[in-house]
Every structure is written in structure tokens, then in C-alpha cells.
């Protein structure tokens, strides 16, 4: 059992007790009065008290008694919006991140540190990751789009957009960056570790990170839900077919005000997602800037395209049977017929019908359902999905494969005539 050492208790508590029962422990009260309050802060520590230089050039107004610095900071570090680049070489977190991602040595730690500074933390484009992220975003979207085009040549345009977003959208890249083990600083500043992601919880960055123009009618589209066609989306909107929105209009003042008082809300989560996805893009951009085309392609394949996305879940058909008969008419197949392959429990509460869709002697799709109508439409949907999800093979060549030296000449990829359009 340990001996209680009352003299090492904090001065404040002992002073408070001394008034109440001064007669019982007069000695303790005497001691507590003798101990100065500032010394009580580190009284339980056996290490030497850190020598804090009182130089104005080094420090500016930080309470060093409460927050002693962990390392010796360069001059005026705390006045900068983001850590100075030379500190990147001493950061253990950055070195660990580079080792975890197996990044080549050609990629300097300073660039990796810059990829972790969001535009909302430091609005100077020479020190934040905007430029790297723009390059990275273009590269990721290019590689994802060309792979989807060659691997699933019959995907309709809106499914292609959804798949693009599923692979390279902000939510996915946010998860990718989190899986890399990147942590974020509570608040950006020059004194934080350069290995931490830095973004502001109070304002979104004003960096332009993609193509697409802001429509003049965007407000009306949001308010009145105006229809905008797919070809319209191809021309005006961003790489995922979504209307380009201003960063300012996403601001929600109420949530913004609460961001400091509560642990996190919808607004701060959106900011974190944007910052993390920008960081992932910036890392890709940094790899391209320092090592070139082939390593960045391998990196995108390994970290973005290797993720599992079930494309068959992206489809939704309004009139599947009609679309299937249109398809059969277009391709000169026999008109589709639905046939009951097997059934069980027709009179019971939970029957199961297995319906197949045939065109001539060939079966196009099959599905089981609790009613004949249900199974029939589901079978038609499966047939349409297997049409749209045709793939030439698992390991298709993409156009960027011919950019390497002594590559085989390019054979034209399969181009489909287009999706089925109802008349």
C-alpha cells in the first residue's frame, strides 16, 4: 500500500480543505500555503523541467506552462498557417506513411507533407495541396473511366457515372485515405506535426478541384427540381455527372456555429470527407509529379480500382420486360418469352416460382420470386443486367497500356452501339 503524500497534492485542493478543517491537520495546511502553485504542475514528474526559452522570436503567446512544446520549433513556426516544409524531414508520421504506402524514395517527404495541407488550412497555393490534387483527380478519373469503358463496354451512361463515383468519388477516396492511416490535426497551424492532415473545421477551402462549370440555372434546378438530361450532364457537369455547386452555398450557418461546441456534426463530417478525398488525390498527384506515368497507374490500380463495387446493384429498371423486348427487337433475336421452370408451394403462404426468360431456344435470364409476376420481372431485369454487364474479359487492355515501351500495338476495344432506348 502506498503512503499518501499530502504535500504532493495540488495546492488548490489543499488550500480549499485547509479552511474547513484547519484544526485537524494544521501541518498540511501550513505546507500547502508554503508550496507555490506553479511548481505543483509538474511535481509528480521525475524528469527535469523543460527549459523554455523566453525569446520573442521563437514563441508568440502560447501558454508554455500548460502546453509545453514537444520539439524545438523553427522561428515563427506558430505564426504560419501550415508547418514549414523543412519540418517534414523530422516527422516520424510522414516517414511511416511513406513506408506504409511503399512510395518510392524519389517522392520527397516535403511533397508528401504538402499533400496533407488542405486549402482550408493554408490558402497559399504554393503550400497547400490544391495543385497536386487537381493533377491527381484528373489521373484517377482518367484511369477509372478508361478501365470501366474497356471492362464493361455496354454500361449505360448514368450507370457509368455512378460507377465512376463509386470508385473515385469523394466518399470512396475518403475511405481510401482513412485506410492509409492518415489522421487529422484538431486545428491547422505551423506547430502541428506535418504528418497529420490539416484542414479547417470552420470553412471549406476555395480550391477548384475538378472540371465542370457552374450552371446559371443551378439554383432553379435545386429549388424546382428541373430536369436535366444526360447529354446535358456530360457537357456541363463534373466527372460524376453531378451539378457543380459553389462551396459557399453548402455552408450551413447553424451547423457551423455548433461545430466548436459539439464533438462533430454533419457539416464537419462533410468538411473532413472533402479534405481526406483531396488528400488522397494529392498523394496521387505527387506520385505523378515525381515518378511519372507508370507508377501512378500502378498506384491507382492498387488503391482505387482494387476496391470491390458490385455494379449489378447500381441498376434500377422501370419497365424491364418492355426494355428487354425492345432489345430483342433491336438485335434481331426472337421475342422474349417467360416460362415457369419450377415452382413450390403455390397454395402456401410462401410460394417460390422460378421463371426463365427465353429467346428462341436460348435462356437469357432466370430468377426466383414469391409470385409469378415478381419472378418474371426479376428474370427480365437479370437478363437486361447480363446484357449491360457484358465484359470482354477479366484482364482487358486499356489504351494507356500502349504508352509503355515495346508494347503490343493497340487493338480496338469493343464499342457498343448504345443503351436501349424506348420508343
Amino acid at each position: 500500500m502506498k503512503r499518501l503524500r499530502l504535500d504532493r497534492w495540488t495546492g488548490q485542493a489543499l488550500v480549499a480543505r485547509s479552511g474547513a478543517c484547519s484544526a485537524s491537520t494544521p501541518r498540511a495546511a501550513l505546507r500547502s500555503a508554503a508550496v507555490p502553485r506553479c511548481a505543483a504542475v509538474r511535481s509528480q514528474s521525475t524528469s527535469a523541467v523543460l527549459q523554455i526559452p523566453k525569446d520573442d522570436e521563437y514563441y508568440d503567446g502560447t501558454d508554455h506552462t500548460r502546453f509545453p512544446p514537444l520539439e524545438r520549433l523553427p522561428p515563427r513556426a506558430t505564426s504560419l498557417p501550415s508547418p514549414p516544409p523543412e519540418r517534414a524531414l523530422k516527422s516520424a508520421k510522414l516517414a511511416a506513411l511513406r513506408a506504409r504506402l511503399s512510395l518510392p524514395d524519389k517522392l520527397p517527404l516535403q511533397t508528401l507533407a504538402r499533400a496533407l495541407v488542405d486549402a482550408s488550412a493554408d490558402d497559399n497555393p504554393l503550400f497547400n495541396n490544391t495543385n497536386l490534387a487537381f493533377v491527381g483527380q484528373s489521373l484517377i478519373n482518367y484511369h477509372v473511366a478508361e478501365w470501366l469503358m474497356c471492362r464493361y463496354p455496354r454500361l449505360p451512361m448514368d450507370i457509368l457515372y455512378a460507377a465512376m463515383k463509386g470508385y473515385a468519388g469523394p466518399a470512396s477516396l475518403h475511405q481510401v485515405a482513412r485506410s492509409w492511416g492518415i489522421e487529422h490535426a484538431a486545428a491547422p497551424g505551423g506547430e502541428v506535426d506535418p504528418g497529420l492532415l490539416q484542414f479547417s473545421m470552420h470553412k471549406p477551402g476555395n480550391a477548384i478541384l475538378g472540371f465542370g462549370t457552374r450552371r446559371a440555372e443551378a439554383d432553379g434546378m435545386k429549388k424546382y427540381k428541373w430536369r436535366h438530361s444526360l447529354s446535358n450532364r456530360v457537357i456541363f457537369d463534373d466527372d460524376f455527372g453531378q451539378v457543380v455547386a459553389d462551396a459557399a452555398e453548402q455552408e450551413k450557418p447553424q451547423l457551423l456555429r455548433r461545430a466548436d461546441t459539439e464533438y462533430g456534426n454533419e457539416y464537419t463530417r462533410a468538411l473532413a470527407e472533402a479534405a481526406y478525398s483531396t488528400c488522397a488525390r494529392a498523394v496521387v498527384g505527387a506520385i505523378y509529379a515525381h515518378t511519372g506515368r507508370e507508377p501512378v497507374k500502378a498506384f491507382v490500380r492498387a488503391h482505387v480500382l482494387s476496391r470491390t463495387l458490385d455494379l449489378s446493384r447500381l441498376f434500377a429498371f422501370a419497365k424491364a420486360t418492355k426494355e428487354l423486348s425492345l432489345l430483342c427487337a433491336r438485335e434481331d433475336f426472337d421475342p422474349p418469352t417467360a416460362r415457369l421452370l419450377s415452382e413450390t408451394g403455390r397454395a402456401s403462404r410462401t410460394p417460390v416460382f422460378v421463371v426463365g426468360i427465353f429467346s428462341g431456344a436460348d435462356k437469357l435470364g432466370e430468377a426466383a420470386g414469391p409470385s409469378l409476376e415478381h419472378a418474371r420481372s426479376k428474370a427480365a431485369m437479370n437478363a437486361l443486367k447480363s446484357w449491360y454487364l457484358y465484359s470482354p474479359g477479366e484482364h482487358v487492355r486499356v489504351p494507356s497500356d500502349v504508352l509503355v515501351e515495346d508494347a503490343r500495338p493497340w487493338e480496338p476495344a469493343y464499342i457498343d452501339m448504345g443503351e436501349i432506348i424506348g420508343r
Binding site: 449489378s312 421463371v355 427465353f358 418474371r376 447480363s386 454487364l389 465484359s391
Partner: protein, 248 residues
Amino acid sequence: MEAIVVRPAVSCCRSAVSAGPTSSRLLLNTLPTGIRQKSTSARTRRALNIPPHPSFLNANNSTGNSGPDGLRGTRRDTDQIIFNPPSSAPSVFHTPFKFLPKNDPRRRANLTSSLFASSTTIHYNATQQQSSSTSPTSMPAEQTFSPEDFPMAEGPVVLKPRHHLAKADIEEMRRLRETDPVTNSVQSLARQYQCSKLFVLMCCQAPREHQDKIKAGLEKTKERWGPRRRAAREERARREGMLRTGEL
């Protein structure tokens, strides 16, 4: 052999139970050991000892063998790959042969489905099966089907448009609907002109008052619905939506 012994015992027990329902519990309790329970490990082992799937057996021997062990057959002794997957819904990522493009290598090589067919695949095309059954690897005595063997599972019958109505007929239909929408309902007009109700709806529009009256009547009906009926209808609509998005 055990099954043969057991089944008459079960049936006679059942008949005894059905004969005297009042004393059924008593009867079951007092019955002698007619039913062989899996009380011992030997009986359990024997009960679980079911013959293997035919694809695991040697095809040539099992057909000729008529001895007491004929059901069991013999294990395959040659080096063969046994592919016997569990039955499951077909994947949409396996493109049907008909959907392959003209220049696809799978089509060029004429790798028909019989080559890749598993033991559980039903062959729909009888002629294809016959041509491939000459190869020694095909399954013996497998039943062949053609699509015509299965009953049709078509949805509601959609009549083909006959295009028999002239412009004057449509004008007349509109006039009738405009003057008296109650007697000239959509259904009666469709019957009168021998066209679909959809076509009547495409041609004519009832007067505003009539539409409002119908709408008010519908609202009144909906007000009478209780929570159960409302919830059931909502759930049905939700199920339809889930079916379209592939969640169901």
C-alpha cells in the same frame, strides 16, 4: 434396408394415432419399440450414411452393377476433376451466349454451354445435347429439356393496337366524354369503340368538375381506410420499388 423396415412402422403408428385421437398421447407412450430412434451412435451413423451424389460415382460401373450394393456404385478410380457446385441463382456477370458480340473470342471458339456446363445445369436445347453427348465426358442419361416443355409465365395480356379508329371516331369519342362523363365512362367508351382504356385516356379528357368529383370520392374512400389497410398498401408500393432497384 433400414428405411424399408422403418417406414411401415411409422405408417402403422400414424394410422393408430388417427384411429384414436383421444388416447393418442397414451398410445405413443405405451407403444413398443416400433420406431428406431437414433438413440445410439451406431444407429445415427447408419442413418446419416447416405449414398454420394451420382457425379462422384463411376458412371460405367454403377449402371451395370445390379447387386445389393448397386445403389451405392463404386468410387471413380480415374484422375478426373469432379465439379459439383451447390445449386444457386445464376450470376448476371455470366453473359448468355446469345448476348456475346459477334467478334467475341468465346463465340469464335464456339465454346457452347455444354463444354462449361456443370452437373446441375439443365440443358434446354435438345439438339445441342445430343451432339455433345457423343463426347465421353458428358453426363450419362441426363434429362434434356427444351423451352417448350415449360409452361408459359406471361404477364397480363397486352392487346396489339389495331389502328381501326379514324379521326372522326376520336372526335365523336371526345364529344361524348365531354357531354356526359358519367354514362360515357372510360370503360364504356373502350367497349363501344373496341379499343383499350389506355387509348380512351390518351384521346379524351373529362371535364374539370368530373375529375374533381372523382378525386374527392377517392379521398373519401382513403379516409375510411384503417391503419392496417394503409400500411399494407404502402408496403406493397415499397416492395415494388425495391423490386425495381434489385433489393428484393
